[in-house]
Subunit: 240 residues, 6 copies
C-alpha cells in the first residue's frame, strides 16, 4: 500500500513512512495545541513539495485570518493558491453567516460541495477543521455517526487522504467531543498540552493507525516559525 508523506519534520518517521493513501485520520487535541497548523502543513506540503492538490475546509476561520495566521509559520497560502492546487471551503465569499444557514438546512449539501471540489480539482489531500462544529449541527449520535461515516467513506472512495481535527475538552482524556468520531476513522493522532509547573509542554502520539505499523510512545513536538516540528526519538515523560 502506498504511503503519503506529511512532510511534517519528524512525523513521517513516527508514521514509518507516512499515512496510507485514502485513509481518514482524526487529529485530536485541546485548544491551542496546534491542530490547525499541523493540518495546514499537511495540505501545504502536499501542494508545494509534491504537487498534490489539497482542500482545506474550515468552519472556524475566515480566509483572510487563516492566510494571515499561516504566514507566521512560513505557509504562504497565496503562493500555494497561485500554484493552482490549494483550495478552500468556508471563506468569506460564502460568508460565515450565510454559510451557517446553508449548513443548517442540509448536512448533505456540505458533503456534496466537498465532493464537487474534489472531483473538479483532483484533490488528493483534505482537511476538515474542525469536525466538532460539523457534528454539533446534528441532532444525536446516530445522525452524527451516519454523517461522518458517509463523509469518510466518500473521501476514501474518491482516493483522498484526510485529516479531521477534533478539539478535546480542557483537562479531559476524551479523543473527541461525542466519543464516536474515533470509531469511524482509520487512524487517531493525539496532540497533548501538559502543564508541567508553569509551562504547557506539547506532546504527540499515534493512538491508532489501521493497516500500518507506527511509533507507540508520546513524543515531543514544538511549534516553531516553520510550523510543527516533531522530535521522534524524544519521549515526553520519563519512563517509570
Amino acid at each position: 500500500m502506498k504511503k503519503i508523506k506529511t512532510y511534517i519534520p519528524g512525523l513521517d518517521e513516527m508514521l514509518k513512512g507516512g499515512i496510507l493513501q485514502g485513509r481518514n485520520i482524526l487529529l485530536s487535541g485541546p485548544c491551542g495545541s496546534g491542530k490547525s497548523t499541523f493540518a495546514m502543513q499537511f495540505i501545504y506540503n502536499g501542494v508545494m513539495k509534491h504537487g498534490e492538490a489539497g482542500l482545506y475546509v474550515t468552519l472556524e476561520e475566515s480566509k483572510e485570518k487563516l492566510y494571515d495566521d499561516m504566514l507566521q509559520f512560513g505557509l504562504d497560502l497565496k503562493k500555494a493558491e497561485q500554484v493552482g492546487k490549494f483550495h478552500l471551503i468556508g471563506g468569506p465569499i460564502a460568508s460565515l453567516k450565510t454559510y451557517m444557514e446553508k449548513v443548517d438546512a442540509n448536512m448533505t449539501h456540505i458533503i456534496k460541495e466537498i465532493e464537487d471540489v474534489i472531483k473538479e480539482h483532483k484533490i488528493k489531500r483534505v482537511v476538515v477543521d474542525s469536525i466538532n462544529l460539523l457534528t454539533m449541527l446534528l441532532k444525536n449520535d446516530e445522525e452524527r455517526r451516519k454523517a461522518l461515516a458517509s463523509l469518510c467513506n466518500s473521501l476514501s472512495t474518491l482516493g483522498c487522504t484526510t485529516i479531521l481535527t477534533s478539539e478535546t475538552k480542557e483537562g479531559s482524556m476524551d479523543l473527541s467531543r461525542y466519543g464516536i468520531e474515533e470509531f469511524i476513522v482509520d487512524g487517531v493522532i493525539v496532540l497533548y498540552l501538559v502543564r508541567q509547573g508553569s509551562k504547557f509542554v506539547p506532546g504527540i502520539t499515534i493512538r491508532k493507525m489501521r493497516g500500518s505499523d507506527h511509533d507507540k510512545e508520546i513524543r515531543v513536538f514544538k511549534i516553531t516559525e516553520k510550523g510543527i516540528v516533531v522530535y521522534p526519538t524524544e519521549t515526553m515523560f520519563a519512563d517509570i
Copy 2:
C-alpha cells in the same frame, strides 16, 4: 463441553483450552488496543487451521481497507476467501451509505441477514466489530438489551461461537458503552492500553467466562507482524 481454540498464541493457555462452543464473548478495550486484529485472528485461524467457516460483520470498515489492514499481520483474507470459508458482511457491495439506511429501517433485518449467512455457509465462528455502532442505532437501554439478547441467543442456538467487540471510553473503567452489554454475554475479555511514562503498554485479562475456569491475572500481549501474541505467564503490573 467442547472448547474452541482461538489459536491466538498464548491466549488458549489463559482460557485453559479455548472458548466454550456456542458462547458469546465481549472483547472490550480502548481505541487502538487491537480489538479488530484479535477478532480477525479468531476467524482466520478457524478457517485456515481448523477448516471452520467464519463470518466477520463490520460496521466500521470497508472490505478493501480491512483486507489491506489485515495483510500487515499476515492475515491474507483473499486466501481465506478462496478456501471458501471466510465470509464478510458490511463490505462495499452493500455500500456503507446504503447499508446504514437499511440498518436504520429495522434492526431485525441485520440479525436476519446474519442468520441467513450462517445457515447457508455453516458458519461456526462469528465476529461483530463493533457492537457499539449497533447499539447506538437503538433508542434506549431496553431496546439495546432486547436486540443484543436476541442476537446472542440466535447465534448460540445456531451453534456459533461469537466475539462482539466493544470500544470503551478513553481513560474510563467501563466494560462497554451502555453498561448492559456485559450482562448478556457469556464471557468478557478486556484489552488494556495503559500509559506508563511515555509508553502505552498493552495488557489482557479474562474478566468473566461462564462455565469455564480461566487465568485471572492481567497478562502482557504484543501486536506483532503475526498479529496479537499473548504472554500468559507475564503479569502487567508488579504485585503489591
Copy 3:
C-alpha cells in the same frame, strides 16, 4: 426468629447462622465476581442438603448454558431437578425472545408467574438473577421501586427467603444500578473484585442485615471447583 443456612462454606459463620427466613437479600457485585454461582449454591444446597424447594429466575441465561456452567462447580442441576425440588423460570421452553416480549407487555405478569410457581411447588428459596434486567424494563425510579417493593413483599408474605443479584458498574462504589434497590431489601451482601497489581482479588462483606447480627469486615473468598468458599476469619485488606 428462624435462620436459613446458605451452606456456602464460611458464609453462615459471617451471617451468625444464616439468613432470617422470609427475608430479601440483595447480592451486589461487579461483572465476573461470582454472583450467579453464589446464588445457585444457595438454591442447590437448599434442595440437596435441606430438602427445601428452590426457584431460580434468570433473565440472562438459557437453561442449557446454566446447567452446563454450574456443573463446573459440582452443582448438578439435572440431579436437583430429578429430586423434584429445583425449579427454573426463564429457560428455553419460554424462549428468551418470546419471554422478553411477554415481560415487556406487563411487569405484573412475571411477578404473577413467580407467585404461581412458588405456591404450586411450595418453594422456600428464591433467586432472581439479575434484578438489573427487571428494573431496566421500567420507566422511572418510582415504577422500579413499586415493582420491587411489590415483588419483595409478595415473596416475604409467601415465606420465601430470596436473593436478588445486582451487577454494579465497573469501578464504581454503587450497591445497585438505580440506587434504590438497597432501600427495599432486608439485607445487602457485597462481592468485591479488587485489582491488586495484576491480580483481581475477590472479597465479601455484609453491608446490612436487618434483624440479625453479622460480621462487619471484608473477608476473602475464592471461586473453587466446589463453588464459592468464604474465609470468614481472613481480612481482605491489611488494617490501617
Copy 4:
C-alpha cells in the same frame, strides 16, 4: 427553650441536653449505618422512659419484620404498643401494595393521615423512615421542597419533635438524595460508615442544629445489642 432527650447513650451529651422541642432533624447516612435503629430508639425511649407518645412512619418495612428486627436491640415494640403510646403507619393492615397506590394518588393524603394520628394520640415524637421514598414519589425539586416544607411545618405546629431519615449514596458526600432536604429541616445529624482496611467503622457528627449549641467533632458510635451507643469524647479520625 425545652430540650427533648433522645436517651440514646452518649448522644444527648453531644446535643448538650437533647433536641429542641418541635424541631425537625434530618438523620443522614449510607446503607446499613444504623439509621432505623437510631430513629426507633428515639421513639421507643420516649414511650418507655418518658411516657411520650411516639409515631413511626415506615415506607420500607412491614410491621412484622420491623418488630422482629428491633427485638435484636432490646426494643420490644409489642410492649411499647401495650403501653398504648407506640403508633405505626405503614404496616400490613394497609398492605404495602395498596398503600403505595394510595400514596401515588395524592401526597397530601399521607400528610393528612400523619396529622390525624398525631392529633388523636397526642404524639410528641415522630420518625419518617425514610424520606427518600417519599420524595421519590414527587415529580421535581419544587414539588419535593413544597411537600417537605409542608410536612415539617405541620409537625412543628403540632408540637412534634421529628427525625427524618435519609439514605445517602454509597461513597458520596451528599447529605440527602436531592440536595434540598437539608434546607428545610432545623438540624442535620450524619452517620458515617468509613472503610478502614477491611473494617467499616461507624462515626457520627452533628452538622447543623439551629438554635442550639452542640459538639462539632466526628465521634465514634457502636451498634450493640442495646442499639446505638455513642462515645461522645472519642474522635473518629486522628487530628491532623
Copy 5:
C-alpha cells in the same frame, strides 16, 4: 463611596471598612456553616448599633423558630422589633404553606412585596435567606438569572445593601446552586467548613468585591455565643 459596617467582629477589617452601600453580596457556604447567623448579625447590628431599618426575608424558617434560634447568639429580635426597625417576611402570619403557593403563582409578587416593605419602612439593609429556594421555583437558568437580576437591580436602586445566602453542595467547590448567582451580585463572601481529622473547622474568604479592596486570604472564624467572630489575621491553612 460610603461603606456600611457589618459590625461582625473582625469582618469589617477584612472588608477594609465594610460593604459598599447599595451593593448585593452573595454569602455562600455549606449546610451548618453559619450563614443565617452571619446574615442576621448584619441586620441586627444595623438596627441596634446604627439605627438602620433592616428586612430579613426567610423562606426556610418560621418566625418563632428564628426568634428562638437567634437568642442563642444574643440577637434579641423582639427587642429589635420593639425598636421599630426590624422587619420580617416569611413568618407565620403569611403561613409557610400559603406563602409557598403565592410564590408559586408569580415570582414578581415576592419582589413586589419586598419593595413595598422597603419603601414603607425605609429599609437600608436586606437579607434573603436563602436564594436557593427562590431560584428553585423557577424553570430554567434564563428565568433564574432574570429574576435575580431584577431583584438585585431593584434593591440597589432603592439604596439597600443586601446579603443573599446560598447553600452549596456538601464537598463541592461551587459558589451557588445553579452557577449563575455569582455573576449577578457585586460581591461574594464564602464560608468554609473543612474537615481536619475529626473536626469541622470554619473559614471565611472574600472571593469578589467589586469596587472595593479587600483581604484575599482564608481567615478563621468561630460561632460563639455572641454569634460569628472573625479572626482577620489568622489564616486557615498553613502556607505552602
Copy 6:
C-alpha cells in the same frame, strides 16, 4: 499584521507586542479573578493613551456601579466619556429590567445595536462582559455557536479588536461555560486564582493566539490600585 497594544503593564510583552487588530479574544477566569478590570483597562487605555474609540457592553452591572468600581483602579470613566470616545451598552437609560426583556425577544437585536454603535462612533476596541449571560439566553449549543460566530465575524469585519469575558466554574478546568466559545474566537487568555495554603494567588497564561507568537508559561499578575499588572518573567509554579 498590525498589533494593538493593551497597555496593561507586562501583558504586551507576553503578547509579543499586543493583540492582532480585528481579532476576537476570549478572556476566561473564575469569579473574582479580575476579568472586568482587565477588560476595562483594554478599553480605557485605548481611549486615553491611543485616542481609539471603545465600546464596553455589560450585561452584569449598572453604569453607576461600573463607574464607581473602576475609579478604584484609577480608571476615570467620566473623564473617558468627556473625551468623547468611551461608549457603554447596558447602562440604566436602557434599564436592566427592560433591557433583559428586549434581549429575550431577539438575540439579533443586541448584535444590531452593537453594530450601530460601532459604526456611528468608529469604535476600534470592544468588550462584551460577559459572554456567559448572552449564551445563557440561547436554547442549545448550535444556537449559541451561530450567535457567537455571527457576532465575532461582524466585529472582525468592522475592524474591531474584541475581548469577550467568560466566567468559568469554580474549581473546574473549563475554558468557557458551554465548551464551544473557545472554538469561535481567535485567541484565549486564561486568568487563574489558585489556592495556595490560605491565599488565592492570581496567574495568567495565553492559551491560544492564532497568527501570533506569544509567551507560553503561566505568569504572575496582581490587582493593584492601578488595575491589573502582569509580571511577564515570573512563573506561577515552580518548574518540575
